[in-house]
Amino acid sequence: MDNLVKRAKELLENKTVQVVIGYEAGPTGVIRPAFITDPEKAGKLIYNDKCDQNLAVYLTKKEVKNFGKMAIVATLPVMRSIMMLISEQQLFAESIVVLGISADGNLLDIADINIMQGYIEKSDLSNPEKYKALLAELNKLNPEEKFAYWQKELSKCIKCYACRQACPMCYCTRCTVEVNQPQWIPVQANTHGNMEWHILRAMHLAGRCISCGECGRACPVGIPCHLLTMQLTDQVYTYFKVYAGTSDKMNSVLSTFEPNDKESFII
Amino acid sequence: MKFGIYPGCSLTGSARDYNESVFALAEAFELEFTQIPDWNCCGATAAHNLNKELSLALPARILALAEKNGLDEIIVPCAACYSRLVVTQHELKKDPELKNRISEVIEMDYKGTSRILNVIEWIDKYIIPQLDAKIVNQFRYKVACYYGCLLVRPNKVLNYDRAEDPQTMDIVMTKLGATPIDYPYKTECCGAGFSISRTDIVSKLSGKIIEDAEHRGADAIIVACPMCHSNLDMRRPDINKYWKTEYNIPVIFVTQAIGQ
């Protein structure tokens, strides 16, 4: 990834950006996010197939934004997150430089949003292969089995909200769970409240989830909560023929409509 | 670029001249054809009046064969075959269930991916761009472009040209150097399938088509359909007898006009 380092260094040296968000190897070799502000330290940046965290989550964080203009190492999910964040006015196209990474790990030349859009449109936007099998399996269960499965999984939830913190689309400064007038979601962690929380989260991401799977990876107790949003991603495509994060002018599925939207259950 | 060609029955029979001129053009313009192997009847004109599934299965088999042989584009010179093939593609695209049923009937996988070109589209797309380099004699005649019924109808399905006062053949002929006349009989009925059974009707209807072209001083009637050709040309003695006339305006296929 010499190209990446070279480009990052360049951007910092000529002051195009003030920070490069990327990946580095920590002391124990674990991949972790890196925020490079010094061109001399650009060499720390790495990219390999273990770099799977969706870095776009940092683009809306005040601490990172305070550096100034940002460059970000962006795989497809990151690029799609960026599109969503721009569409939802959380990010300005001119305040970031995208260091795109292709599916085979090479640095892409993403000069502007249009080029990024072109790249995204060419890519496979459905849920990643590795999750499809489990999704299909779950979809095969009968309702009782499904309910039992999710009860079991969600009973483990400790309401740490790591799924929320890891998600680039969960950028609200105040989440519904923090509302207590009324108390929409119980404060305590219990199966029922946990379920309500995860339904709420999935619904809020309907048509906005870009299938990065970060929520599931972030969960300390291993709840496959990413499957909830991914299921809706599939459904959004089935019903409305759109994938999130394909343009910087996305119309969110739940804030728009077509008069002839089809459903079969309303009598 | 490899094209498939579906000749259909006419081109191997009464419209041999059409067939030969299409192949001659292809050779002159270095366009390679592959005849769809083991092709069958397209079903025109009887099948769709008798049995809907049969009328779709016949063309579907042809299209499936084309797909199997990797022919992305098929040229269909006969307007009736063209119409049947396009209608089938349209119907099966609209109704996936029907598509599956037909696939079962023809015992072949039908995807509907081939692009079907009529002869005018084919000329416009592949011949015209090379025309300047290859043309020997400009076709400098006044012509009546006769489209007949099947080339542009049903308009919603074909999505080709416009049903009333179509223009594509006029444009192609202009590019060949001809002067198309203002011709109101472009899509009037020639008598079509009555060719054999009721020659009197054919004589009456085709006679009007010829009369107007002659009256307007056309040197030739240009057609792109074997049926039109046979009614206007082969039935000429009957027409002249019916109308007590002596029309002798030639009727030629658009492909022949290029090769002239």
């Binding site: 009782e144 339904i199 299921q231 459904q235 739940l254 939207d261 | -």
Partner: protein, 150 residues
């Protein structure tokens, strides 16, 4: 289960279904008294969380009803609602929450008879399904969990 009387909550819009239910009344058409109505300005106002809250508070069935497409008093609230319910239904189906317990309908201000039909059909169906035991059990267990965990 023969004496089971289901609790059904209806979330309806003010302009069509609420008015339609008024018409059921003025037409003196009888329907099951298990249904109780909550009035909203528009189906667009109905938060999906309220449906979950209804189940959590012991509802056995739910009716969500508003203006037919193109008839919304606010022109498009019901269209947005429709998309919301499509997503909600798919999520519920995926999680095994029983969507047979929720009736989504369009009932106009002129469809007093339809309202009675919607209510009766829903109540009959819920009666057959019985109380929503699995959801109630989860809620009750959760309360216990809480007590246990202090």
């Amino acid at each position: 289960m023969s004496d089971f009387e289901p609790k059904v909550v209806a979330f309806v819009c003010n302009w069509c279904t609420y008015a339609g239910a008024d018409l059921t009344g003025t037409s003196r058409i009888k329907y099951a008294s298990n249904v109780k109505i909550i009035r909203f300005p528009c189906t667009g106002r109905i938060d999906f969380m309220l449906l979950l809250k209804a189940f959590a508070n012991g509802a056995d069935g739910i009716i969500v009803s508003g203006c037919h497409p193109n008839d919304c008093h606010y022109t498009s609230g019901n269209f947005h609602a429709k998309r919301r319910w499509i997503m909600f239904k798919e999520l519920m189906d995926f999680m095994g929450i029983d969507m047979n317990r929720i009736t989504f309908s369009w009932v106009s201000a002129a469809e007093g008879a339809k309202w009675a039909d919607v209510v009766n059909a829903t109540v009959t169906r819920i009666r057959e399904l019985g109380p929503y035991v699995s959801y109630k059990e989860m809620v009750d267990k959760s309360v216990e969990e809480e007590v246990k965990n202090g």
